[in-house]
């Protein structure tokens, strides 16, 4: 904010000039200031672009986060009761429509139960291989989304209302009850910034449920619908439609293993790259994110109740 401190004397000087040539008082913006500010912006871009991890801009981001985090949390708390109003004011039509949808879903689930034996086998095999047991050593810190990055910035990030005081740190996995949401980029004391898996910069190591093939799930930042791209490491394997993709993960890396990501809906063969590209629809509805959980090592000290792996609250 030091920049505007310099604005005081400048505005004072400008006023005196105006006083002198009152007759020709067109308020012309000075080109020299434009050049100076544009150069300042460009040097800021250069500073931040060439050293992304240990950027000199990072401390400034942290300071802004410490300042704006609590305000965003408070604002979200004030706004929350109003955003839930539409769900109270539902008409009979929308309720009967919901009953129709639920009946359809019910019959779909019934047919799934009929084929559950096959899925059960797949699941057991898969669980053993991804060492899902390791993820049992994880506890969940609950948090709520308090701010969303705008699409004008072409990045898919949100702020959540838990930070280093709650035991969070960079690269932790963020999930909700549908599946993988993203990972923590940076934390302040009371908030954390989360990179959603739909962001173009997000790459998640994924594993296809039925074949156990590994690949990489890229966010494509598309606006209209949440879709992810899956590229398999082995180009000769064709992922099957409706296969579930889970994280491949590592206990040290950003994504914990075995978290469901989404379902394969379409498969394209790229002749030029001689590889398979599959479209994955994520389980999480990113336009309606609210309560999320951050996976932290079991026993982490936190300023709030932590959900342990066995479901107990601590």
């Amino acid at each position: 904010m030091g920049g505007l401190g310099g604005g005081g004397p400048v505005s004072g000087r400008e006023r005196r000039w105006r006083g002198m040539d009152r007759l020709d008082s067109r308020n012309r913006p000075p080109r020299s200031l434009l050049v100076a500010l544009v150069l300042a912006s460009v040097s800021l871009i250069t500073l931040d672009f060439h050293s992304s991890a240990d950027s000199p801009v990072e401390p400034a981001r942290r300071v802004m986060g410490e300042a704006f985090g609590p305000i965003q949390t408070a604002t979200a708390t004030v706004v929350r009761p109003f955003t839930s109003i539409p769900s109270w004011l539902r008409s009979r039509d929308s309720l009967s429509e919901e009953i129709r949808d639920l009946e359809a879903e019910n019959s779909e689930l019934k047919s799934k139960v009929a084929t559950a034996g096959l899925d059960q086998n797949r699941l057991e095999e898969f669980d053993g291989l991804t060492q899902a047991a390791e993820s049992l050593g994880q506890a969940l810190v609950p948090a709520r989304v308090v701010a969303y990055g705008s699409s004008q910035s072409f990045s898919n990030t949100v702020t959540i209302d838990a930070g280093s005081n709650a035991g969070l740190g960079p690269d932790m996995t963020v999930i909700n009850n549908d599946g993988l949401v993203g990972r923590v980029l940076r934390v302040t004391r009371s908030t954390a910034t989360v990179l959603l898996i739909t962001d173009t910069e997000s790459i998640v190591g994924g594993r296809v449920g039925s074949s156990l093939e590994i690949g990489f799930v890229h966010g494509n930042g598309s606006l209209a619908d949440d879709e992810l791209d899956l590229k398999l490491v082995d180009g000769s394997v064709i992922p099957a439609k409706h296969d579930t993709v889970v994280t491949w993960g590592s206990s040290q890396g950003p994504y914990q293993p075995g978290v469901p990501v989404g379902r394969v809906t379409d498969v394209y063969t790229s002749l030029r790259e001689s590889s398979q590209r599959a479209v994955v629809v994520p389980f999480v509805n990113f336009s309606a994110l609210d309560v999320v959980g951050v996976m932290v090592p079991s026993g982490t000290a936190s300023d709030r109740a932590v959900i342990e792996a066995d479901g107990a609250l601590r």
Partner: protein, 173 residues
């Protein structure tokens, strides 16, 4: 001219930017279309450029841009919104006449400013290698301009009245 008010002025301007930033990140996403929200910071900068003197408005544009670049959910390369909003402030101050702008002129300025600002941000992204597709960029720019124009009648009159009181001599011109 009394000294305390001139010392308080930058703080009021920065407070307006901070309020815009919080509303933009925490309130408007609930009514956003595909995540595109009205760019309130840009509206504050345009309101300032149409009211207070040009150098102060340009510095405010730069500060608002840096704030948009650094405030929590943002994760793009810092300096991109700073560049966009500085240019927006310069151009808006440039087109401003000495007479009080008409409603149509304000709406036109906001539409142009929104188009130019969002475009500059998108173009810097292309230069720096962001992999957003050009049709997506155009869609975002179009919706952003529409949002900003829709909010102009609600946001710009109180903003310009506020900045006019901060800088009475210039607002009277």
């Amino acid at each position: 001219m009394n000294q305390p008010s001139s010392r308080v002025r930058p703080f009021i301007a920065v407070a307006a930017v901070a309020l815009a930033l919080v509303l933009q990140a925490s309130v408007f996403p609930h009514v956003a279309w595909h995540g595109i929200v009205p760019n309130l910071c840009l509206l504050v900068v345009v309101g300032a450029a149409l009211t207070i003197n040009a150098p102060a408005a340009m510095v405010l544009g730069f500060v608002a841009g840096v704030a948009l670049d650094l405030a929590p959910p943002a994760d793009h390369v810092a300096g991109r919104w700073a560049l966009a909003l500085t240019v927006v402030a310069f151009l808006a101050a440039r087109v401003r006449q000495d007479v009080k702008p008409t409603a149509a002129a304000v709406v036109g300025t906001v539409a142009a400013a929104s188009f130019i600002g969002t475009s500059i941000f998108a173009l810097t992204g292309l230069v720096l290698g962001d992999s957003a597709s050009v049709p997506d960029l155009l869609e975002v720019i179009a919706v952003a301009v529409l949002w900003d124009v829709l909010l102009t009648p609600l946001v710009l009159p109180p903003l310009m009245a506020l900045f006019g009181r901060l800088d009475p001599q210039l607002a009277a011109a």
